[in-house]
Symmetry: C2
Subunit: 298 residues, 2 copies
């Protein structure tokens, strides 16, 4: 199976699970449920849930049991996209080439759909434990891990710093901190959730988390590079937005060449961490995911 | 101890716990943490967390262990107030006589503070289990219960229906449904969380939940009555807002006298359900809380 086929197959698994656990779009309140389905199935690359499954599989766990954790993290990610796009935040009219949630369903529904998607993951994880996918002990750890990826050490804090940075120049250290919080923290949560569901010892969970953090930062550097050199049609969003908004990025702070070096360096860090894990089919997929993130064009 | 003294003492317990678990307001990102402290400590009556403690105590549980559940529900409630006040929702400039969160801290921070307060509760509950306040099994049940009070059968769905109802006349059944979702569902969650932490059997949890649902609806009818006959200075908000906004309320649909009858009837339902529970000091406080809700002037 090629890596592209692997990604497709895992995306289908994640999507099937999401379809099963989300309320049908035609059940009341339909406007809310439609907004949720619209954004959850908007063609996201499912990098986070697949990372979660890979971490679980590479640490010897049952990836079927891990689907709840993977889907939970994807919902959190989708929620953050909806709220980030709001007029009072990044004010984005489109997302993945389609109208953003608030453009399509109105601002109040977008806020509420985002709220819903922030909370439902915890119900999903608790329910999976009730159904025996993992022990309640693991469920509690998964809930705490996901919450940490959102709150003061996660995406919410990152978005606060990101918005504050818009009005001034930021240092390289500040930019890195923003991306650690906005992107790397939830990627780290993917690894830790997968590890928790695999029942992996703390040391292996830390190893997977170190790799995931580096990959998260790499992901963000590549994002900044694609905003300069990417193809708008492939990306599904206009390029040049960062420089138009005078936004500090890895490229604006370090230049394109150095940004590329940094992406490669972070990918190497992510790969190196994986050397400590036992060889397996899933670990191979983890290495391929790193290659994919650093080499992606969208 | 009078009931007022009891409420004060319990409020102090809840506030002390919240102070302990919230990140200090002067830690980064300070703007976010200040907004969180501002709204969490804005003088709320703490009805929900105290209901949670009462349910736990009345069902024989240790209310000290229950503080995490009580604080978690209060955070969810505060989050819903912040988001409900946003310009795209109810557009309220004040809350409890003070500037609402987005008026004080800006709209983006208000969205993010609300997001933070929706997710942190799950970390608090998971951490309390790690610290031995209750078993992970109970933590998972508490997380699922709280999430149900928020999502499709809770406050988010209620706010969606409430906003949809603004543009048209609603029937009495529709209005009741909105209040079941917006108010009664989280009140029911209080009872179920307290019952879960007390380790009460399902039947007793259901009994407490039935009382809490009735009390939640009663709370809402009284709110509608106070908007017509209340004292703005005591309420901390202007009265007459509902009729000014042509909003359907129990009073506009049924008239003041019938609305008062309904409040009394719902309070009686809430009291009657409690007859099935064994007598105790905490149960007495539960009865007094019902009297307080139906008789309150703010």
């Amino acid at each position: 199976m090629t890596f592209a086929e692997f990604m497709e197959a895992q995306t289908r698994r994640v999507d099937a699970y999401l379809t099963r656990v989300l309320p049908p779009r035609d059940t009341p309140p339909t406007h809310l449920h439609e907004a949720i389905h619209y954004t959850v199935f908007a063609g996201g690359k499912r990098v986070r849930p697949i990372m979660t499954l890979i971490a679980c599989g590479a640490l010897g766990g049952d990836t079927e049991a891990c689907l709840a954790g993977a889907a939970a993290i994807e919902m959190i990610h989708v929620s953050s996209l909806i709220h980030d796009d709001l007029p009072c935040m990044d004010d984005s009219d489109t997302r993945r080439g389609q109208p953003s949630c608030h453009r399509k369903f109105g601002e109040s529904t977008a806020v509420l759909a985002g709220d819903w998607l922030l909370v439902y993951p915890f119900e999903i994880v608790a329910r999976a434990a009730e159904e025996g996918a993992f022990t309640p002990d693991v469920a509690a750890r998964v809930c705490a891990t996901i919450a940490r990826g959102v709150c003061t050490s996660g995406i919410v804090a990152g978005q606060v710093l990101d918005l504050e940075a818009e009005s001034r120049d930021v240092t390289a250290a500040e930019l890195r901190r923003i991306h650690e919080l906005k992107t790397a923290a939830l990627m780290e949560a993917c690894a830790r959730v997968g590890a928790a569901i695999a029942g992996a010892p703390a040391q292996l969970s830390d190893t997977a988390a170190r790799s995931a953090r580096a990959l998260g930062l790499c992901f963000q550097v590549v994002d900044d590079i694609l905003d300069v050199v990417g193809d708008a049609a492939v990306l599904g969003k206009p390029t040049g937005a960062d420089s138009e908004n005078a936004k500090s990025t890895y490229v604006s702070l370090h230049g394109l060449d150095l940004a590329r070096d940094m992406a490669a360096q972070l990918a190497a860090e992510a790969r190196d961490a994986l050397d400590a894990l036992p060889d397996s089919e899933w670990l191979l997929r983890g290495r391929q995911l790193i290659d994919y993130v650093v080499g992606r064009s969208s």
